[in-house]
Symmetry: C2
Subunit: 227 residues, 2 copies
């Protein structure tokens, strides 16, 4: 029997797909439509949480009244604006993302995707990565009770793979991914491709930080079990 290989659990936006900045401006547009004035960089720093948690927090921080209708409207307007920006800007896989997933598959290292987004916005990106959700576990916000920074998404992804989360690597671009990794006792690997600073990821507990999936693949021996 060979030793169990560490599973790789991936965040999606900003980690495998170059979509963070479009999400940021889509949230900006949605908040503007509600008359909620929030600087764009503050939205960027909250991205990567679930839509629900994210809007709750923004409304609380801006001391705006929170109603279920308003949160629903914010989410729908974000999805519409994102669809438009993603189409215009042609959201694509990040450099090395497709190659990294292929490398893991070829090396028989189990991997999965766990995203705070909902399937309606994630489906297009997953298709762009050439990932078949019937073969690879893809856990979305729709399927768990709590989203990041709670660890539920990654814990569920590990369960689907039949591996122990405490042996897994969590790869993400946001501090919420690194915090969720810590709470689940996984190791967090940070990527700069979502636009956060290296030090922000390290302070949130990143075990290692790389530029993007291509850079992680170049340094894969630093984190993956060698055969």
């Amino acid at each position: 029997m060979s030793r169990q290989k560490h599973a790789f659990l991936f965040d999606l936006d900003g980690t495998l797909v170059d979509s963070v900045y479009q999400h940021v401006l889509a949230w900006k547009e949605s908040l503007d439509m509600e008359g909620i004035d929030l600087s764009v960089w503050r939205i960027h720093r909250k991205i990567g949480m679930s839509g629900g948690l994210f809007t709750d927090i923004l409304l609380r921080e801006t001391q705006t009244e929170i109603t279920p209708e308003r949160i629903d409207r914010l989410r729908r307007n974000h999805a519409a604006a994102y669809g438009r920006l993603a189409e215009a800007g042609a959201v694509k896989p990040l450099p090395g993302a497709v190659e990294l997933l292929k490398w893991l598959t070829d090396a028989n290292i189990p991997w999965a995707i766990a995203t705070s987004g909902r399937m309606e916005t994630a489906a297009h990106n997953i298709a762009a990565l050439g990932v078949d959700p019937n073969k690879v576990p893809v856990v979305t916000r729709d399927q768990v009770r709590h989203a990041k920074p709670d660890p539920d998404l990654f814990v569920t992804a590990a369960q689907r793979l039949g591996t122990d989360i405490r042996d897994a690597m969590v790869i993400g671009d946001a501090i919420w991914d690194m915090l969720a990794a810590q709470r689940a006792r996984a190791l967090g690997i940070g990527l700069l491709s979502g636009g956060y600073g290296e030090n922000e990821l390290e302070r949130a507990g990143a075990y290692r930080v790389f530029e993007d999936p291509a850079d992680l693949l170049r340094h894969i021996d630093e984190v993956a079990a060698r055969s």
Copy 2:
């Protein structure tokens, strides 16, 4: 005779006006139109240089052929895309920007604006700040030979105010502002409102880092001469 007060030299985009993310996606669109594939976070990290220097560097880093026609096309397509995004997203002054400039004026502290942008894109933002370019020095890329991270923009702004750059504060959101400040022997004050991390600004030499103009105004006694 009272002691000469330190001048405040401000960057514009991301420092006084909430426009960085729109510039980032506008550059993304412009580069896509030229078939140049570059991740959005890498564009974000180059923003705040001059348009010319910025495109030179991007083309060199992506190992794409650099021709004057191509650089001109990139710049024009960026300006068009930015105009569209800025209009849709209603680019506005950052929280506290108008109040901070008023406070400095009332305190008889000289201040000026020095931006890597050109007047064609900067004019709208300067108007939104309620700044009259006939009363306050506004130095744009059109008026100096070298843009950031060269210190020419800030040096020229200090000259216009009749103050010594070595007594000035340079307020900016990008590492290029902090590097330019160091080269001119001014003190750099970093703001997080352009979406860079605190540590990135500190590593580039920021003397102090605040969240945005409102946060700087709340802590103004830490950096401004008290009367």
